[in-house]
Structures are given as C-alpha cells and as structure tokens.
C-alpha cells in the first residue's frame, strides 16, 4: 500500500489499537491484523451505504401511500402493472449492488495479496502442536541443540516475520492471536501454517478457536512481542537446562518430581524427568500463566493447581494426585526454581 494510504490509516488505527485489549481483532499490532482493520472498515462503509439505501427505500415505500387514504381494495384490472420507472430502478439497483460487491471483492483480493507478501522474507520458524488442552511450542532451528521447547507461551521479536507450522496430536484446534493475525486450524494428519509479522511490542493473548472438547474454553496462550535484544536474552535463558535445586525443600521437591507421577508426563531438561505427554516444564516459572491460561502464575495458584488441577480445569488430562502437605510445599518450592 502507498505511504499516503499508510499515513491516512495509521492515525485511526493507532486510536483503535490503543483502545483495544490484548485479545482483540481491532488491535492491529501485526501486518495481517492491521490489514484486517482496513479491509473491515472498507466493507463496513460499503455495506452501510447499501443498508441505508434499503432502509430508505423501505421507509419511503411505507410512508408514500399511507397518507393517500384511498380505498383499501385490490385494483382488479391493474394489480399486475408496473411503472417504467420501476424497471429502470431495478436495473440501477442491480448495477449498484454489482458494483459495490465488485469493489469489495477487489479490496479483499488486495488485502490477501498484502498478507501473502510477508512470506517472501525469511525470519523465525516455529512449530506449534495442539493437544487437548495445551499448546506445545517448538522453535525450529537447523541445529537441534539450539531449539527451544516450551508450552502455552510464545516470545517473538518485533518486526521479524515468523513462519509457524501447525500440527495436532489429537483433535482439530485453531491457533488465534487476533492482535497479530487471523486464525488457522491445527488438523491431525495434516500440516497447516500461518505467517505472523508483529509490528508493535506488547503482551497479547491467544485462544483456541475450534471446539476441541470439554476444556476448549481454557486453551489460551500468551504471546509476548519484544525488542530483538530482549528476545535473544529470553531465548538464551530458555535454552539453558534447569538450575539444580539448592535448598532442602527444593531438593525434596525435585526428588518427588523425578520419582513420582510428574515425570511420566512432564519434561525438565537437565533432569531425569523426560515425559513428553504434557507441557515442558523446564522454565515453567518464567511463564505468565498455568494450565494454558487457566490461572496466572503465582505461588498461590501453583499450590492450587498442583494440589487439584481438576477443580480448576475439570476434565483436563492432568490428574489430581493426592499428596502430603509437605510434598506439596516441596514441589512448589522446586517448581519455583524452574525459571
């Protein structure tokens, strides 16, 4: 799009995104989502005009003869006649509708093309795999030892194009971060993808947008768009293995974690816990939420989640395991070290 058009649109866009929340299609903080706002407003304008014409026609038609006060009977000889003006009006109306719809189709085409243009530059690559009801996030690099694996949270450097490959381990999910882009389904047995180009920094929220079972509502993810240096720092930290526990309480928690049920589902790099069924917990304490957006991450919620995940997210795949209070304390202490 031309620079003038950019400027004309930037001002109201800036206004809209300032008002919009962090899971909002009017945010426009990515290339695709910004294009959405423009296209939506174009459609809204043309559709509003058509609608007002219909209402005007209806209003005038109803007001016209009501005042005439004529006899309310059928004119048996002329009830099928139509004036020549009406025939002309039909042609004009058909032309108007066709022109309006053509404008919209063309606008849609240009918007689509602009979205596709971002694929030409190369940048970051991610693979996100959907599960009931959490997101597995893998940063794809040519060197496997430089690949970060995390869950339910994505960090992205601003202004760097991102190619996200989408897969599913079970049922159909849909990846949707409205502030950045439209959605794309994750379909088992197929691979789909989505291009993201975040243009503004911020903390955004995404949510699964295809009904995927009992806890579809609680399958959210946090998307943090930050300056490149901050991103690199985050990435390096995520690559590191988990620090060893230091206090007695933390060590007790570590022992519980690697010897009991936890390690059969969860992975903590640098420890014997290597379960691949559930989210990777190596740096769980650095994330913003627990349970794919179910609870904000803090000590109290960690207690509540570990003690009884089923009461917060009934039907989720993490069973409620009865445990002694001292085990709970030690586990939380250990989990808090996993930054």
């Amino acid at each position: 799009m031309t620079r003038l058009a950019h400027r004309l649109i930037a001002l109201p866009l800036g206004f809209l995104s300032a008002c919009a929340g962090n899971q909002n299609a009017m945010g426009g903080q990515g290339l695709e989502s910004a294009n959405f706002i423009v296209l939506f407003l174009v459609f809204l304008a043309v559709c509003a005009v058509m609608y007002l014409l219909v209402l005007a026609g209806l209003g005038i038609a109803l007001r016209r003869r009501r005042d005439a006060g004529q006899a309310n009977s059928v004119d048996e000889d002329r009830h099928e006649e139509t004036s020549a003006r009406t025939k002309v009006a039909l042609i004009v109306w058909t032309g108007l509708v066709t022109v309006g719809l053509t404008i919209l189709t063309v606008a849609s085409f240009f918007s689509d093309r602009s979205n596709a243009s971002s694929t030409r530059r190369s940048g970051l690559a991610l693979t996100i795999t959907g599960n009931q009801w959490w997101w597995n996030v893998q940063y794809d690099t040519s060197d496997p030892s430089a690949s970060v694996r995390t869950a339910n949270e994505i960090h992205l450097p601003v202004n760097v194009p991102v190619h996200v490959t989408l897969k599913s381990n079970d049922v159909i999910h849909s990846f949707w971060v409205p502030n950045l882009a439209g959605k794309q389904d994750l379909i088992p047995g197929r691979q789909t993808d989505i291009e993201l180009l975040p243009r503004r920094t911020g903390v955004f929220h995404g949510q699964c947008a295809e009904f995927c079972g009992v806890q579809h509502t609680r399958m959210a993810l946090d998307v943090i768009v930050e300056p490149l240096d901050d991103f690199r720092r985050w990435y390096a930290q995520q690559l590191a293995t988990a620090p060893a526990p230091t206090t007695r309480l933390q060590m007790a928690g570590y022992r519980y974690f690697v010897t009991r049920e936890c390690s059969s589902c969860h992975n903590v790099a640098g420890s014997p816990a290597g379960g691949q069924i559930g989210p990777d917990l190596t740096h769980v304490a650095s994330r913003r939420s627990i349970g794919a957006g179910t609870l904000p991450l803090n000590r109290g919620n960690l207690y509540g989640w570990i003690a009884d995940p089923q009461s917060h997210k009934p039907g989720s795949r993490m069973p409620t395991i009865p445990m002694e209070p001292r085990d709970l304390h030690s586990l939380v202490a250990y989990i808090e070290t996993l930054k």
Binding site: H79, I172, P188, G189
Partner: protein
C-alpha cells in the same frame, strides 16, 4: 387380450361424480364422508390427511423451538458475567450442542416442511399430497429422531460435540460413549424424514396443480417449495453419507476420518458443509416465499416482476451448492481455491438483493396495510439485510480468518436465521392462522409481541458482533474479565430474556386465539391464491370441485364465482393429475386411504435405527419387520374395484 387390457380400455365406471348434478351441501356431505379422518387413537395414528400431518409437524417443531430456546436462556445466563459458575464445562458443551442440533435439525427445516405440507395442496388446488402415507411416515420418523435426542438429554447421555460434530472429536477415539452415535442416528432419522417429504412435495407440485396453473402462474410460495425440495434431494444425501461413515468409524472400525490409517478429518467437513450450506437456504428460501405472499396481499397488488423473483429463487438455490468451502477457510486448503468460494459467496447475495428490491417496489407501488404479518416482513427486511451484509464480510477470506469461530459469526447467523426465517415464519403463522384454525389471532397482542421480539432481538444479538471482534471465541462456557466482553454479554443476556418473553407472548396469542378468537371467514385478508377459496379451516377434502386457474391471482380475477372442473368420483378418494408445464388435465388418480401401516413401519424402522447405535446387526435383523411393514403398506386391501383405489 388380458383382463388388464380390457380394464384399461373400459369406459369410465358408472359411479357418482361431482358436477352440475351433484354439488353444494349434498356433495360436501358425501365428500366429507369419503375424505374423513377415522376416529379414536388408531384413527389418529392412521391419518394421511396432509393438513393433519402439516399441523403435527408445526406443533412438534414449535415445541422443539421452545426447548432449544430454553437452552439458549441457560447459556445466556451462564455468559451474563465473566467467570460465572452457573453451568460447568461438560454440561455447557451438551447444552450448546443440543441447542444448535435442535434448532437446525428439529425446528428450522421441519417447521418449513410442515407449513409446505399443509399449504401446498391448498395453494395448487388439489385434495391431498402425492404420497400421503409416505408423508405420514416422514412425520413419525422426524418425531422419533427428536425423541431419541431429547430422551438422551434427559438420561444424561446427550451429545456434546457441537451441532456439526467434527471428527476426530466425534470419532471413536475422542468421542467416548454413545453420545456422538445418538447425534448421528438422529441425523439419519431427520434426513430420511426430510427427503421423504421433499420427494412428495416435488411430485405434488409437478403433477397435481389445478388445471390452468402453469408453472408461470404458480404462487411464489409454491416456487420456493419446489426449489427447496429439490435442494433437499441433492444436499441431504451428503449429511446422510457423512453421518453413516461416522457411525461406521465408531461402530465397526472403518477409517474414513482417521488420518492414521489413510482417512481425513476434512472429508467430514467437505461432506457436512456440502449439505450444511444449502441447508441454510433450505430454511431461508421458504421464508422468502412467505414474504412474497404477505407483501402481495398486504400491498393489495401482485408482486412486482414475478419472473425476476422466480429466477432469483432458482438462482439462489443453484448457487447455494457452490459455497460450502467458505466454512473451511481456516483449514489450510489452497488459497487459489478459496478465491472461487469468496466470489461465489459474495455473488449469491445478488439474487436476494433483487428479491428485496421487488418486495420494496411492491410496497411502493401498492397500498400497504400495516397489520401484524406485514410488520414481521418489515422486521425481516431490517434485520435480515444486516445478517446478509455481515455474510458478505465473512465471505472475504482475510476478514473471515479473524471472525471465523467468534461471536461475530454467532451474530451473523442469528441475524439471517431469526431475522430471515423466524420473523417471516411468525408473520406467516399470523397470516394463515385463520385458515388453519378458523379464528383470527389478536392484532393488539400481535403488535406488542412483534415490537418486543424485534427490539429484544437487536439487544440480544447486535452486541455479539462486538464480542466477536473483541476476541470472544464460540463454544466457550465462560470468558475472563478485562477483555471488554462484560457489556456485550450482559446486554445479550438481557435481550435474550426479552426475546423469550416475546415468543411466549406469541404462543399465548396462538393458544388463546385458537380456543376463542374472533371467527374468520374463508378469505379474511382478501388474498389472491387458491387456499383462500376453501373454508376456514378447510374441509377434509379441501375443494368440493377442483378449481381452474386463469391467472397468477385467481381470486382477484373472479370475485363471485370460481371456475372448476368436474367428473371426479365422490365415494372414493380421487384427485386430478395435470401435465407438468401447462397443467392440462391428464389422469384421475386414486388417493391413499387412511392406514395404520405408515405408523407401524415407522416403529419398525425406528427400532432398526436405534438398535444400530448399539450393534450393526440391528440393521440386518431390524430390516425384516421393517420390510414386512412396508410390504403391508403397499399391498392392496380388499377386492379389486371398478376404478382403482388405494386402501
């Protein structure tokens, strides 16, 4: 020469026939005996009168509307505030599945077909449907499917996979228990019922129109009935196949939708939406038929540009089959293919825009009377067009990718379904109520109910556009605070209460008027079509003599007399077949007498279908009694007659 040939060449038998020698009250008494419905419970179950079956369809469908509406209220109460705990996750998923499934399969299509079954023979000037017993089976199977679903709900095994039941969520691995099987088999019941009704309607319209009612003189409502019945014939097999393949995956281990063994989850989506998109036009086009009839009568003139309206209905019906991929824009299919579906989805609005022009032009050139049926038409235009325009928006892929699976879509389809189908339906019920019952509905209560419904609807559903844009996905049992969703949801919930009250008021008006409303003459609104030439309510035989039609508006052409043909039998059920294009009288056709075999066959078929939820062998075993019952239905009873009868 065989005796069959002798009989074929024999002159007409010497039996009593209607005509100048036999007419008036004497004829009507004999016709009433011939066409009467038998008494008692067996009699009720044996009825093949299309008016009975149409009424049963409508009452059953309105009951399901109320049940699904109650579920909607529960959902709205749960969503009225963030992080509400009125309804838990699992129960909520059952509720929205039941709401959508009931509305789409048990209310919207059946109510439209029910009205079609009631009105079509009256509007085309005949005495019965083409296959009266098949029509009866259609109703019983529909009722059985609805009961299956709701009994499951009461027994706490309701489906919880959404009304669209996507695999693998609905498949054998993730759809645990029998819930998806119940859903899939309910679909089997209702689509068999719907297909049977559609075939009957097509045959009736093509072959039983009154002499002189060429295709170009058919009422617009009959055109919409013909087009939607053809759409049913071509689209319902898709959902029948899809649900059968799903049942097969679940029951006997096939792999149609299992990607691990060569199947594809998207196969379901293609098959389902190939049905699902035409389905919404199957619901909408009959509503446009209602609108055309009401606008003409209440503008005191014929619809402007009848050929344009007919062509628009036909074009919409055909185009509707080329749009289904717009439900799949987020599934990663090739973008180039998507452009075709965007263009098609946008262009399908052009014929509808033409119909809207014709309706407004008719009001403009006519003398509109603002009574309740016309109020609903006005409400329809104001509301439906918004839904149509949001539809144009989501036809564009970049817009759809943001708005798909959000409350924006929920707003869109309620605007087109409630605005586009329910408003005209309520107007139609008010309009034809005197014909159905012989009494008028209260105009005052009707006006109050209309305004409550119209305003309540806007309050309930407009904020959903905002909720969707503000990030609220579909099918969620709650949402977090702080996203800006509190106000839209609260307003929607308040609006839904107003809508519920308005519907209740409409139903109360119906009941009160049916029991003691002002008595209606044959043609209280001065309509132009043939149904207004019958009594209110019509006699069992509809018309004492089959009418002849000389124009598109037969009752406005001849005010004091009705041209008719005569010579049909009086003591046996007989109606007239005419030629397809120009309705020239052709054959005297016997019409089926009441029989309990349709009901018995339906019971046998129901046992077969419901049994197959538990075991595939039920299909084999259950087919035996079903076959016997259907053979008994077909087998002539009693000795051969002078002229044929169907007993």
């Amino acid at each position: 020469m065989s005796s069959a040939l002798e009989k074929a060449k024999a002159p007409p038998a010497d039996v009593p026939r209607d005509g100048p020698g036999l007419s008036g009250p004497v004829l009507e008494a004999r016709l009433a005996r011939t066409w009467g419905r038998p008494r008692g419970l067996i009699g009720w179950l044996s009825s093949v009168d299309h008016k009975d079956i149409g009424r049963r369809y409508i009452v059953t469908a309105l009951t399901f509307l109320a049940l699904a509406g109650a579920l909607a209220l529960i959902m709205r109460l749960q969503l009225a505030k963030p992080e509400n705990d009125l309804v838990g996750a699992a129960r909520y998923n059952e509720i929205f599945t039941m709401h959508g499934t009931t509305m789409m399969f048990l209310f919207a299509v059946p109510v439209m077909q029910g009205v079609q079954i009631y009105l079509t023979p009256l509007m085309i000037g005949t005495r019965a449907m083409a296959f009266p017993r098949l029509t009866a089976v259609s109703f019983y199977l529909y009722l059985a499917g609805g009961c299956l679903l709701w009994v499951a709900f009461i027994l706490n095994i309701a489906p919880d996979i959404g009304w669209f039941a996507y695999p693998p969520l609905s498949g054998p691995q993730y759809g645990v228990g029998k819930r998806p099987d119940i859903w899939a088999q309910m679909v089997t019941f209702t689509e068999v019922a719907s297909l049977a009704a559609a075939v009957t309607l097509i045959a009736t319209i093509l072959k039983q129109r009154a002499p002189g009612m060429s295709l170009a003189r058919m009422p617009l409502y009959v055109w919409t009935t013909l087009v939607t019945s053809l759409m049913v014939v071509f689209s319902m097999p898709a959902v029948a196949l899809a649900s059968s393949l799903l049942l097969s995956d679940r029951l006997v281990g096939t792999h149609f939708y299992n990607p691990a063994e060569g199947g594809d989850a998207l196969l379901w989506q293609h098959l389902f939406w190939f049905f699902g998109h035409p389905e919404v036009y199957i619901i909408f086009l009959p509503a446009t038929g209602f609108v055309s009839e009401i606008v003409a009568t209440f503008s005191r003139r014929s619809i402007v540009f009848y050929p344009v309206v007919v062509l628009s209905v036909v074009a919409t019906g055909i185009l509707a089959f080329g749009l289904w991929v717009h439900h799949m824009f987020a599934t990663g299919l090739p973008r180039v293919g998507y452009s075709f579906y965007t263009a098609a989805s946008i262009s399908v609005s052009i014929p509808t825009a033409l119909q809207i022009f014709c309706w407004i032009a008719t009001l403009w050139e006519g003398r509109p009377r603002l009574q309740v049926p016309l109020l609903y038409v006005i409400g329809f235009i104001i509301t439906f067009v918004i839904g149509g325009l949001t539809g144009v928006m989501i036809a564009a892929v970049p817009l759809d990718l943001q708005l798909h699976d959000t409350y924006f879509i929920v707003a869109h389809f309620h605007y087109v379904l409630i605005g586009g189908a329910v408003f005209p339906l309520l107007g139609a019920i008010t309009y034809w109520f005197p014909k159905f019952t012989g009494r008028m509905m209260s105009e005052k209560i009707g006006k109050l109910g209309f305004w409550m419904l119209f305003l309540g609807f806007q309050l309930a559903f407009f904020p959903m556009h905002v909720a969707g844009i503000y990030g609220m996905p579909r099918r969620v049992y709650t949402y977090p605070a702080g996203m800006g969703l509190e106000w839209p949801n609260l307003l929607s919930s308040l609006g839904s209460l107003v809508v519920a009250l308005a519907v209740l008021l409409f139903v109360l008006n119906m009941v009160r008027s049916a029991l003691g409303g002002r008595r209606a003459a044959a043609n209280p609104w001065d309509g132009s079509s043939l149904e207004w030439a019958t009594q209110s309510p019509p006699a069992d035989y509809n018309f004492a003599h089959i009418p002849v039609v000389e124009s598109r508006a037969p009752l406005w052409g001849s005010r004091d007399h009705l041209p008719v043909v005569h010579g049909l039998r009086v003591d046996d059920r007989e109606l007239l077949l005419t030629t397809v294009m120009d309705a020239v009288p052709d054959v005297r056709e016997p019409s089926a007498q009441p029989s309990p075999w349709p009901f018995i066959s339906s019971v046998a078929i129901s046992v077969m279908f419901i049994g197959s939820i538990l075991s595939p062998w039920a299909l084999v075993v259950g087919a035996i009694p079903a076959t016997i019952a259907m053979a008994a239905w077909f087998w002539p009873k009693g000795p051969p007659e002078l002229e044929p009868t169907i007993s």
